[in-house]
Amino acid sequence: MRAFAELLEDLVLTQSRNRKIELLLRHFRECRDPDRGLAVAAITGDLDLPSVKPALIRELASEVSDPELFRLSYDFVGDLAETVSLIWPISQAGDAPQSLGEVMDLLSRASRSTAPAILRDLLDRLDASQRYAVIKLATGGLRIGVSARLAKQALAEFGQVDIGEIEELWHGLTPPYTALFAWLEGRAPKPVSLALAPFRPVMLSHAADERDLETFDPAEFMAEWKWDGIRIQAVGEGGTRRLYSRTGDDISRAFPDIVEAMNFEGTIDGELLVRDAGGSVAPFSALQQRLNRKTVSAKLVREYPAFIRAYDLLRDGNEDVRALPLPQRKERLDALVATLPQARFDLSGPLSFATLDELRALRENPPEPVIEGLMIKRLDSAYVAGRPRGLWFKWKRDPQVVDAVLMYAQRGHGKRSGFYSDYTFGVWRGDELVPVGKAYFGFTDEELKRIDKFVRDNTVERFGPVRSVRADADFGLVLEIAFEGLNRSTRHKSGIAMRFPRISRLRWDKPPAEADRLETLEAMLS
């Protein structure tokens, strides 16, 4: 149990992705089964303890602390698990359970009526850091800055296998993943996935650069629009239907409308999109209403109807077609999609072009604003997991740009500690600046030093790690910001949120008064 608590403490304070992976690798090496597998499940969100809920945690806290003192403490600390773990009285209640396995065993056998006594006794026997870990485990949502994907990456590095192999297996596995660890350590053969409708690793593209295009032969490629939705995989197998994200997370429960229509045997690769009232593809912000939900209301399904624009086929019936060339897969896909409800499935049709210039013209004038650019795929390409070179390219539209004014700067972490490296910028509304986004890359180390000096020399106010920087009509720093689109947002004061903003140029020469106005951004929205 101590090892798991320490892992959480370390992960929460580690910024760097590589260091997080190192910490996980060390844990996998030093920890035994089932503890290490349970730790993975805690991170990937695959543990479920139905009889322990936040309300129970609060109830226990009110038994050990004056409610007013608890309220003041919770106010100050800001996290329930942390407050309870710290405020819990020290008692000599006997030996702490040694392993995460023992703790999970106790908690998973608890019923609604025995849970309070079991949890109380457990908290009595653990130290503050372990209490925190147990409460986080029990209530879910670790919030330690480690995604399921990162945990799988660490597993892949642990066994020196490709992450695709882990993702492909994942849905057939259950905690504590003993067979998986045995394989990764070379002690047993690769587990055979027994789950129906498993995820298969997806094929990814490279960004097309001018060099790729120099040698481009239009006869060898097909092209289709790149839609701004999320990449999914829809799998039907023996009556089981599953909808996966591109990293193999099962998102079926959030899309009952899609799942209901998945009356097929096979594995379809495509883009998940939402239709607007007029039947056209709605912007990404509409799709966002449906994402990251465990379940979904009938109202949301009605207001934001989802559909899949299919572009590839991995399995046709029970036949694995990944090795076939693209046109043959497309042909089979067309036939399959023709049998499915049109409202939920359609095809990403090929674009006709004869020359690179024609393709360039298509890219610059897409028929709908939701199109991000073009996908260009080699006709003779098989479906290859991962990001193979030279087969699929994405050729995005040039980003949109605005000139904005630097308003706030925040200190960076790691290699950038000591530098103000995260910038909030704004545009004019009347004669005031309203923040429209935040960017922390797109500049060189030399430029960073120069902006950092500008921030230090022109600080108006400081709030902890943030400095407010002088920005008025005559004086300030103008940043040219590139971004991939705008969404309406109720969370931002400006009513607008930018997608993937980054700094494309520093405009030391430009007076802030000449930066863009909010009206310009609003016009880009429609």
Partner: protein, 339 residues
């Protein structure tokens, strides 16, 4: 004759706590004629008063910080010896906060009020040991006045730092410490717990470390952290100490791949760790935790508690629950971030 009230002896003013019969202030935040100073931290000990009474260590620390002429008249108070100021009896008692820190007991016409300044009860070889003072009114701070604060033994915390230096010898361990008290305590903890590697210090810590050393508190060999552009090897196996303000300054850029540690009672709280970008939190505090605060209140036997700064609402609540009269003083000018 009207009965004396404690407020007649000592009450808050915009300049700080004032004693009308003695005509002096305790830890005034603005220049005054006569100041009694509990300890050398900048929010309590300020320059510009006419006369200052404090322990010899505190006077010396003020001279280091503000120059020898920081006031017109200095008077050294000896711990445990009573001095009369305009008929009011004043005694300094050790507070255990930093070197020279004192509580000030003010007695007049049978009323005893103890102003504790900042204090702590954890063992610390770099400060005189705290003594409880019996009094009618106890004035206490409440920086860590919430039941979530429970400071671990400092030896356990310093062991984390020593272990990390051994585990990650290639990374520079940068420890944030305030220049007076925390810096010297951390160095001494390192030494007392067997750390023999080099300790590098930021220039802002030097004079106070020299002063501690001259006062008989051995800190071992200290080197200046002045290598202009450090290479990985320059600080490896060592520990670098600097004031937190330096972590936002260009100074920090000389250390390749730094591992940021911070020694403070705030390091109990995860959001504070993350806010400061701390990878290695060290809960080493020169203030009392919740248990120490409430124990001290009981030890003084005081019937009335005045709370100066920090989480005063919670400490007042605890007093109420324990049938002790208490109220917040709402003094301004004292910081609890700097700990």
């Amino acid at each position: 004759m009207k009965a004396m009230r404690p407020e007649d002896l000592l009450h808050p003013t915009p300049r700080g706590l004032y004693c009308p019969p003695g005509d002096f202030y305790i830890d005034p935040v603005r220049p005054v004629n006569r100041a009694l100073v509990t300890h050398g931290h900048a929010d309590h000990a300020r320059a510009g008063h006419h006369s200052v009474m404090a322990t010899a260590h505190t006077l010396a620390i003020m001279a280091i910080r503000y120059g020898a002429d920081f006031c017109e008249k200095q008077q050294a108070a000896v711990l445990g010896q009573t001095i009369s100021v305009n008929g009011v009896e004043v005694t300094f008692y050790p507070a255990g906060h930093v070197l020279g820190s004192a509580q000030i007991l003010v007695e007049w016409k049978g009323i005893r009020i103890c102003v504790s300044g900042d204090y702590k009860r954890m063992p610390d070889p770099t400060a005189e040991t705290y003594e409880p003072v019996l009094c009618d009114v106890f004035i206490t701070e409440a920086t860590f006045g919430l039941p979530v604060f429970r400071h671990p033994h400092p030896a356990l915390e310093i062991a984390k730092l020593i272990r990390s230096v051994a585990d990650f010898p290639d990374r520079t361990h940068l420890v944030g410490v305030y220049a007076l008290g925390k810096a010297q305590r951390v160095i001494r903890l390192l030494r007392d717990n067997g750390f023999a590697g080099p300790v590098f210090i930021h220039g802002a810590l030097k004079e106070l470390c020299d002063y501690y050393e001259a006062s008989g508190i051995a800190l071992g060999e200290l080197r200046a952290a002045t290598v202009a552009a450090g290479k990985t090897g320059d600080y490896s196996g060592g520990v670098v100490l600097g004031p937190p303000s330096a972590f936002n300054a260009p100074w920090v850029r000389r250390f390749p791949d730094p591992l940021i540690a911070f020694a403070s009672g705030w390091m109990t709280i995860r959001s504070r760790m993350k806010q400061r970008g701390v990878e290695l939190p060290l809960v080493i505090s020169d203030h009392c935790d919740w248990e120490e605060l409430t124990l001290s209140i009981r030890d003084t036997g005081a019937g009335e508690i005045w709370v100066t700064h920090g989480r005063e609402e919670a400490l007042v609540r605890w007093c109420e629950l324990n049938q002790i009269r208490a109220r917040p003083l709402h003094l301004i000018g004292y910081e609890d971030e700097a700990e």
